[in-house]
């Protein structure tokens, strides 16, 4: 198995790109940052896959990497871009300015929180049952999920919320490969299929909402409260 620094490098890279997705306040730039985020995940899957001696397992990981990158890195961005192209009410960057310092600090806090929650549980397992890949990357993947939640909660535009959800999905995918056992190939495809369908429906909503409500801001959708 690999030495620890490579896993730490991947952890830092993924957290960096998650923050990058969050702080971009322009739709297309945000989408580009998300594509890079997904590609890094793909490379990580490839890297973890290459550590195995069983050729079937290697093939499994390589196939999952290729399919994930093509679906999340190409297909889903194309669906979202198509919905963007129909948007008439393009955002004003100033209205959606994001405090970079606050985002970075909160994100780092969330990653530390994720390690504080997951690490002790993993450390209590019998020695040797987990690889360094799992002990280092699994808490980080939870950090990515929490950062996705944070992005979702603070997102002021409906498509930022879609991308936040995709970041969370990436966090889950990250967790699945970090356990090194992975979910089986069929199940990964099932989850991907759910993601495509969800994004497809959200893209339909994005279009209908901007057509009917003439806005892409979530604060315009706060009527239903008790």
């Amino acid at each position: 198995m690999a030495t620890i620094p490579v896993e730490i490098l991947f952890t830092i890279l993924i957290i960096f790109f998650t923050i990058l997705v969050h702080i971009n306040n322009l739709a297309r730039k945000q989408l580009l940052a998300f594509i890079i985020h997904t590609v890094v995940m793909g490379i990580l899957t490839f890297y973890i896959g290459m550590q195995f001696s069983d050729p079937l397992k290697v093939l499994d990981f390589i196939l999952i990497a290729i399919i994930t990158v093509s679906v999340k890195g190409i297909m889903i961005p194309v669906i979202i871009l198509k919905a963007f192209s129909k948007l008439k009410y393009e955002e004003e960057p100033k209205a959606f300015a994001i405090s970079i310092t606050r985002t970075v600090f909160t994100s780092v806090f969330l990653v530390i929180l994720a390690y504080a929650i997951i690490w002790p549980v993993l450390a209590a397992l019998p020695g040797g049952s987990l690889t360094p890949v799992t002990t280092v990357l699994l808490p980080a993947s939870f950090g990515v999920v929490l950062m996705g939640f944070y992005m979702l909660a603070t997102g002021k535009k409906i498509y930022t919320q879609i991308i936040a959800l995709l970041v969370m999905e990436n966090g889950i995918y990250f967790a699945s490969i970090a356990t090194t056992y992975g979910l089986s190939f069929l199940l990964e495809i099932g989850i991907l299929f759910d993601t495509i369908a969800a994004v497809g429906i959200m893209a339909v909503f994005l279009f209908v909402i901007q057509r009917n409500l003439k806005t892409v801001q979530t604060k315009q959708m706060e009527e239903l409260i008790d």
Partner: protein, 523 residues
């Protein structure tokens, strides 16, 4: 072969989408509903007739008494909602609210939604359970946004975003469970098969199990509508067309509940303890009580009768979760009650959503204050609605009374062993009283009094220049309310449900009691 149960739903969904003739779409919808019901009953029959009460192929597909019970509930409510939809949508079609294209979308998404819910109960693999539950969100989101108006779009957007985000945590929990299984039970492609996990629960790592249950509970409780993750529920349930509201409230919440129960069974068998009680039990008691309290408060203050019904769903899911949480601490009475309550809540809630659907069609308003004299305008609907309210609030001789009393008796048994549990008994009783008062107050205002036509006009004058409550229609949408029943076919379905809950309230077949007791042994 269990997946064959999905064929009627998928085939009906495709056929409804391809057909262009309204009558044919409705006919296919009805035939599809019958086929779905028969398939589910057939599978349930196979489970009951099996000596081990299980069927499956020791791989992906599996059913036991618990899944058969949930599947039959989906089939009953789903097929009745499909029949009710015909009259409901026909009325809206004649009023030019919707066209044939909308009907095609409605029926195809509706059957896809029913199919996805059935999918949850026929598999052994916990990831497939997750995939199916996420699938139900995707299939039902378009149904929530069916009318494409601002509140409906807002509700649908909240629904899909909050549920999808919440359920991501459940998937994280599933992955942790997979890690636990692979590390402790050996690497296997069946690592996430519930039967395997349940059989070897004692061998699993307790730390990872606790982490899993927290994530799973938060994730699926979002979908089940437990407080504080419930915010999407009143919006989605009130904005969706009434047959969809009935299905969302009556059976969709059960799907998430089912997933929680599967993990709860593993936790119970593994004897994961905290503060002298079961770990999962404690979490369920806390969130169940919280849901009861918050929902009871909102039922009293809410002015929208569909929102009141939605909050009542939160309350009942809270009761069920509380019943299971208390359950195995002393005997199985509370578990028996909670299991029976799942069926009773599904039937009673769909009955009320159906009758409130007829009221909505007539009055075009969801505001309690805009409806007066329902008894003189629609006498049959008013009687059914009032009886439904009595049934839902737990009055005898309806079945909800029996299950609520069973849960309460179970709780008192536990409290006699540990007086600290009298707090939950107090919360439970307090909420029952508050909800009864709030519910009957709102329903009484609607049913009694003079016909609301004049009142509405008076309100319009008073409210000039003010922003009206969102449940009120605009002035142009206000109909002239003329006395007379509408959607009579829908009323027949409401009567069928009323008879069912009445029968279940006064007599339970011994076989059914044995069946529920068999399920109760899982926890």
């Amino acid at each position: 072969m269990l997946y064959l149960v999905l064929i009627p739903s998928i085939a009906t969904a495709i056929a409804c989408y391809l057909l262009k003739n309204k009558k044919r779409i409705e006919l296919v919808n009805e035939m599809g509903a019958c086929a779905e019901f028969l398939c589910a009953v057939l599978l349930c029959g196979l489970v009951v007739s099996s000596s081990t009460m299980t069927i499956g192929d020791n791989g992906l597909w599996y059913m036991d008494a618990l899944s058969a019970y949930f599947l039959v509930i989906v089939a009953i409510v789903g097929s009745l909602a499909a029949f009710y939809s015909v009259g409901y949508l026909d009325y809206e079609y004649k009023e030019n609210v919707i066209d044939v294209t909308r009907l095609r979308i409605y029926y195809s998404m509706f059957h896809l939604f029913i199919g996805m819910m059935m999918f949850v109960f026929i598999t052994d693999n916990l990831t497939i359970v997750w995939i199916a539950i996420e699938g139900t969100t995707i299939a039902s989101a378009l149904l929530v946004a069916f009318y494409n108006k601002k509140p409906a779009l807002e509700a649908a957007w909240k629904f899909i975003i909050i549920c999808s985000a919440g359920i991501v945590l459940a998937l994280f929990g599933t992955i942790i469970m997979s890690l636990n299984s692979n590390v402790e039970l050996g690497e296997s492609i069946f690592a996430l098969n519930w039967t395997k996990l349940f059989a070897s629960a004692g061998l699993l790592d307790p730390g990872l199990l606790k982490l899993t249950f927290i994530l799973i509970f938060v994730g699926y409780a979002t979908k089940a509508g437990l407080v504080p993750m419930h915010t999407w529920l009143p919006d989605a349930h009130s904005q969706a067309p009434s047959p969809v509201s009935a299905t969302l409230s009556g059976v969709l919440l059960n799907c998430a509940l089912y997933a929680i129960l599967r993990y709860h069974a593993i936790m119970t068998k593994a004897h994961i303890m905290i503060l002298g009680t079961g770990f999962s039990n404690l979490i369920m008691i806390i969130f169940g009580s919280l849901s009861l309290l918050v929902a009871a408060g909102f039922i009293v203050v809410s002015k929208d009768y569909k929102r009141i019904l939605a909050y009542s769903s939160i309350k009942h899911i809270g009761m069920i979760i509380l019943g299971f949480g208390i359950g195995n601490l002393a005997g199985t009475l509370a578990i028996f009650g909670a299991l029976f309550h799942i069926l009773n809540h599904s039937l009673t809630k769909s009955m009320l959503f159906f009758s409130s659907g007829n009221i909505l069609l007539k009055y075009k308003t969801r505001c309690v204050d805009d409806i007066r004299g329902l008894g003189s305008t629609m006498p049959l609907t008013a009687i059914l609605f009032m009886l439904g309210v009595f049934a839902l609030t737990g009055l005898p001789p309806f079945s909800v009374f029996v299950s609520e009393i069973s849960i309460l008796s179970g709780m008192i048994q536990v409290a006699q062993l540990n007086p600290a549990y009298y707090i939950t008994v107090f919360i439970y009783l307090l909420c029952m009283v508050i909800v009864f008062a709030g519910f009957t107050n709102s329903a009484g205002k609607m049913v009694f009094g003079t016909n609301s036509i004049n009142k509405i006009e008076a309100r319009v004058i008073v409210k000039q220049g003010e922003t009206e409550h969102e449940c009120s229609p605009t002035e142009q949408e206000r109909p002239k309310v003329t006395p007379g029943e509408i959607n009579r076919a829908g009323s027949i379905i409401v009567i069928i449900l009323l008879v069912l809950i009445l029968l279940l309230g006064v007599y339970m077949l011994p076989q059914m009691g044995a069946f529920l007791n068999n399920i109760a042994t899982l926890f």
